[in-house]
Amino acid sequence: MRRRAWRAGGRRRGGGPRYPGWLALPAAGWYAAFFLVPLGFVVAYSFAALEGYAGIAFAWNLDNYRSLWDPLYGGVFKRTLGLSLFGTAATLLVGFPFAYWLARYAQRKTLLLLLVVVPFWTSFLIRTYAWLIILDPEFPLFRALHSVGVVGADLNLLYTPKAIYIGVVYNYLPLMVLPLYAALERLDWSLVEAAQDLGDPPWRAFRRITLPLALPGVVAGSLLVFIPLTGEYLIPVILGGDKTVFAGNLIAQQFLEAHDWPFGSAIAVVVIAAMTVVLVAFSRIAARQETQGG
C-alpha cells in the first residue's frame, strides 16, 4: 500500500473493484491537451526566433541552444545544479534522523506526522516570505543573539544566497521526510536488534540493515526534492532579492522582462531534459533495488 503512493504500477490482482478503462479518458485527455501539448509548444518555441518586436518565426534551428552555450549561462546552470544537490543533501541530513526518530521511537506517530504534513500543504509563498521577518537584523532573536555576542552586528542574511539555502531546506524538508518515514515505518526493528545481539556495533547494524531497507525512501525523497528544485523560482526571488539567478529565474526573466519566449523556452527544455535524465536514472536504481530485495 504504502509503496504504491510512491511508485507507479503494481499488481493487477487486488487492484480494487473492476471498472472499465474508458473512465481514464477524461483525465488522460486533460493531461494531453493542457500538459503534453503545452510542453510540446515549449519545445517548438525553443527552435524559433524573435521576429520584429513581438513576433515569432519558426526558424527550426538551434540558435537558442547555441546562445545558451555561453559561460554566463553555464554559471547559472552550475549554480542551479548546486542548489538542487545542496537541497537534496541538506534535507536528507536533517530529515533522516528526524524520520528515524519518528518511525522508531515516537509515540502518537499519526499526530506527529500530521504536524509535518500540515505546513507543507499551506501557502509556499507565505511560508517563504515569513523568513524575511525572521532573517531581518531587526528581528528580536537576532538582536538578542547580537547583544550576547553570538553573532556580529553586521550579520545580515537577508537577500543573500544563505537566505535562499535556508528557505530551500525549510520548504523542501517535508517532501524528504514523508517518503523516508514511509520506508522506515515498515522496517522490522527486531532485525536491527538481532544484528546487534550478534555482535554488530550499532553503526554497522545501521549500515547493513537500516540503510538498505530505507533506501527506497531515500530515493523517493531525493527525487521529490531534487527535481522541483531544478526549476525553483520563488525562493530566490523573495529571499535572495532576485539577485542570485537560477535556471527558474532565467526562464521567468525571458518571459516577463526580456520577452524572448523562444530563448526562455530553450532554457525550459534544458530543465525538462535534465529532469528526464534524473527520473530515468533514479527509476533504474529503484528497479535494481527491487530485484535485489526480492
Binding site: F34, P38, F41, V42, L115, P228, L234, M275
Partner: protein
Amino acid sequence: MGKRLLKAHALAVYVFLYAPIAVIVVYAFNSGRQVLNWDGFSTKWFGEALRDNTITDAFRNSLLIGAGNALVACVLGTMLALALPRLPRLLRLPLDALVMMTLVTPEIVFGIAALVFFVETGIPLGLKTILIAHVVFNASVVALVVRARFTGMGEELEEASYDLGAGPIATFRQVTLPRLAPAVLAGGLLAFTFSFDDFITSFFVSGAGTTTLPLRIFSALRFGISPVINATAVMILALTLGSVVLAYVVLRRSSGGREGVSAVPGL
C-alpha cells in the same frame, strides 16, 4: 543510544517548521505600522484587510478557482483512479508516469508552457485559464489520494452488483462511492488548498486583469511586508490549515487505518 539526541533533533525540526508560521501570526496582531516594532496587541489589520477591495476581490477569485478546481479535479481524478489499476500495462505505466510528471515538473516550466499554449490557441487569459491549468496537477492529487483507498477495497460487493445486472455507473453510485466518499472528499479538499495557495502557475496564466490572493500578496511584497499583508496571510493560513486538517481527519476516521497517512504524503 542517541535516543535523546534524536528526540532533541526532532524537537528542533518542529520548531524550524512552525517558527515562520508563528512569526506571521504573532506580527499580524501587532498594532504598529512597522512590522517588527511591537506596539501592542490589535486586530485592526484584519479589519483593514477585509475593507480593502483589491484583497477581497482577489479572495473571491481564489475561492472561485479553488472550488471549481476541487470539483473538476474530483471528477477527473476519481474516474482515473477507478480505471487505472486494471488498465493493460502498456497504457497504465505511461499514465502513471504522466500523473507523477504533472506533480514533479517544476512549476515554472509548466507555468510558461501553459502561457505559451493559451496565447497560441487564442484562449483569453483569466480565471478560466487559471482553472484549466490548476486542474492538471489537482486531478493527479485526487487520483493519488482516491487510488490509495480504492486499491485496498475488496471487489466482492462490486462483482455482486455487476452480477445483479447493474452497470458501472449504478454500481459506482450505490456500491463504490459510499465507501470511497471520504477519499474523494479529502482529495477535493487538498485540491482546493493546492489551487488556493498556488502562485507560480497563476502568475503566468492569469493575464493582466485577474488577481488571486497569492498574486496580491506577492505584488504587495514588492513594497515590503506590511501588517495588512500579515493579517491577510493569517486568514489564508487559517482557511488552508483548516481544510488540510479536515481532509486528514476525514481520511483517518473512515479508514480506521493508515492508508490515508500514506496517501496524503503521496505528493
